[in-house]
Subunit: 396 residues, 2 copies
DNA sequence: CCACCTTTGTCCTGTGACTGGAGAAAGTCA
DNA sequence: TGACTTTCTCCAGTCACAGGACAAAGGTGG
């Protein structure tokens, strides 16, 4: 079952592989236009890549007015696995070498069940994708987990919402099970990478990616590279204090952002409002389902429920204040909003924008787009595929 | 008067120059230990550097048990100028090629007088240093200004406290006047670079450098490099809101950090306390000098004045809250506190530490030193010298 | 003071990476 | 069909560099 995928022998080959990944099939001549190498050298490196099987010939290229060139493409059988482990669900997807999603499965799940149970589920989902004929095997996998990760080793460290995962050798264990190289990162970082690769952040070099799901986190990209901080906890903005002596937070402190706005907080506030009789709309939904989620608030808001709109605006204002601070500090070129609550859509975005544009200095906000991510739940898995492909498409 | 200082011809030479800058005189053999080059190649590059005059022979090296080697050092006549333009004062210093400060002058000044007047003063100070025999000319200058800078061009952009400087071609103008290459950056960034080169941050790769002077700013170093943001305004934390609908700030918003704690705010609060009769100590000083500054508060606090201590603690708490947010977000390996208010010393530091350690998560604060800068007013000028030397000691 | 070892500096040749030109092959366009 | 383009291949020449051989200069132990 183990696949020994070849690795590029030098930086040129790595560069070529990435060009083919990001630009699709290309002729040698077109590759030559994008890389600073002589035609002879280029031909040698392409030949070597063909020998390794990482790339294959792929018919004739479109004419550019002279002799037609043969196209080169990444091996069509290459498959990457993207895994996005959230607090309450798992996403698993297969991509080809160009990181196009060929198949995507989502399943509910509780991270608190611990790594063993979760991995069992992940492996079953991967097996299902394989069985459906989308892949014969995996050449690499990128995994996102909802907590800080010591990146080089691929090990979660002190994850607040994932008891039982602290120090678990995720990278090693999954690499063993899947029989392929694995990289592990924070789920928010993967989302940022995904939006950078295939979403709204394609042309951004320095940007923030705020993910509002069960918790709140922020991916930081500096010069096109994810910044992870000294201990891997950079972007952990959910526990920034927004209200001195405010609400009790699960982390033990008071007044954390997450205690006021996140999937979990929103659901709790909505249930409270429903029970207090402040929102018939929400009360109806509570009765029907027995509990409420952020999605219920989104639907109620879309239906014009004032209480729901207030909840979203309130949370948006609070989150906006924090983002405004981060914008002042970090001066990003773009802010992407993603995660489970993107369903709250324009109401949320409006609140965020108002706060940021009002509180940050004009120089920092002057040309600062604040937008929703465009990949939705695919961002994480695409980011995972991108992460491992970056790793594999680099000199050994 | 123009000096045409040679530039390294390739990356190896640049590397060697930096080794000599940071490690002082070295034998070829010692250089060979630090650089990944064969002895032959090394000899060739050193010879070329000797030809350019950038480095010179410097006697015999200490014995390592065999044939003694001749030392190599950077040309002893090389001189860099470090200029730190603050809101109310200018620092100008000359350094040798090893960035040791040979002479340092400070003068009061008001940036609001505009670039022309300020540069006149800076040039006079530089001339004074030259006249005292410390330099025959300058091979490069690094300038810090108290506001955002479009770094590649060396032009201030929309600086709030420097009316009249917006868009002024500082780099070009000073390069013309001084007859040498010039680099311009935010003063806070220079302080960070200074502390990184010769101060407490020597071994830090990712750290923050908070400068509390007339205003408040923060230098951000990522992977050993200064991060400046998309428009050059990264680190502008003085206008982060710490109190909704709080005090009016000069920027037009309300509740900014700078409105509560900064040299200017502290002086104002101290004068108010003196006039209200809350502090006889401060009242006495006010009567004597006609006005109060942050330094007066420092002295009064050292003398045990309760009101002054309260002011410092208050401001420290507010600033600490903001730093705590930044620590959660950025996960630095070190936080350096500097600027004019370092005289407030331990009282301030204690307040900052309390807030940060209490509000940020253990993973981020676990091994996070929060310390005062050790270079004081020299940090900025050393950072300036370092900035320009990095520029000159890189391949042309 | 001498023989021997270590370190340092210099010279020289071999190797691998790479460039760029010549020319053949394959195609387009009028 | 002929002229022009583009692409591909081959090859010789250049350049950077490594690493060995050797000489020079110093230390060390007898």
């Amino acid at each position: 079952m183990r696949r020994m995928t070849a690795r590029p022998a030098n930086a040129h080959q790595a560069r070529l592989l990435r060009l083919l990944r990001d630009g699709g099939p290309n002729s040698r001549a077109q590759l030559g236009d994008q890389i600073d190498l002589s035609r002879s050298k280029l031909a040698v490196e392409v030949d070597r890549l063909l020998e390794t099987g990482l790339v294959v010939a792929d018919g004739l290229a479109a004419s550019r007015g002279g002799r037609r060139s043969h196209n080169i493409r990444l091996a069509p059988g290459l498959r990457f696995l993207g895994v996005d482990i959230g607090a309450t669900s798992v996403d698993v997807a297969v991509t080809n070498a160009e990181l196009e999603v060929l198949g995507h499965i989502t399943q509910p799940m509780d991270v608190r069940e611990g790594p063993v149970a979760v991995f069992e589920q992940v492996l079953a989902m991967a097996a299902k994708l394989k069985a459906s004929g989308l892949a014969e095997g995996f050449d690499g996998a990128g995994i996102g987990v909802p907590g800080p990760v010591r990146f080089p080793e691929g090990v979660p460290v002190a994850p607040p919402i994932m008891p039982g995962w602290d120090g678990f050798p995720v990278r090693e264990a999954l690499s063993q099970e899947l029989g392929c190289p694995v990289m592990v990162d924070n789920d928010v970082n993967l989302m940022a990478v995904g939006e950078q690769h295939a979403g709204v952040a394609r042309s951004a070099r320095d940007f923030l990616c705020v993910k509002i799901g069960t918790g709140i986190g922020c991916g930081i990209v500096v010069g096109g590279e994810v910044y992870r901080g000294t201990t891997g906890s950079a972007g952990d903005i959910g526990h920034i204090q927004v209200e001195p002596d405010g609400r009790q937070c699960a982390c033990g402190n008071r007044g954390c952002l997450e205690a006021y706005f996140s999937g979990a907080a929103l659901a709790r506030d909505a249930e409270e409002a429903a029970r207090d009789g402040r929102s018939p709309e929400l009360a109806g939904r509570l009765e029907a389902a027995g509990k409420l989620s952020a999605a219920d608030v989104a639907v109620a808001a879309a239906a014009g429920d004032g209480t729901s709109l207030d909840l979203i605006r309130d949370g948006g204002n609070r989150t906006g204040q924090v983002i405004a601070s981060l914008v002042s500090f970090f001066n990003p070129g773009l802010v992407v909003i993603g995660g489970g609550v993107t369903g709250l859509g324009h109401t949320l975005l409006a609140a965020l924008r108002t706060q940021v544009y009002r509180q940050s200095l004009p120089l920092a906000t002057g040309n600062l787009p604040i937008v929703l991510g465009e990949l939705g739940p695919a961002a994480g898995v695409i980011g995972g595929a991108r992460l491992i492909s970056d790793h594999l498409f680099s000199p050994a």
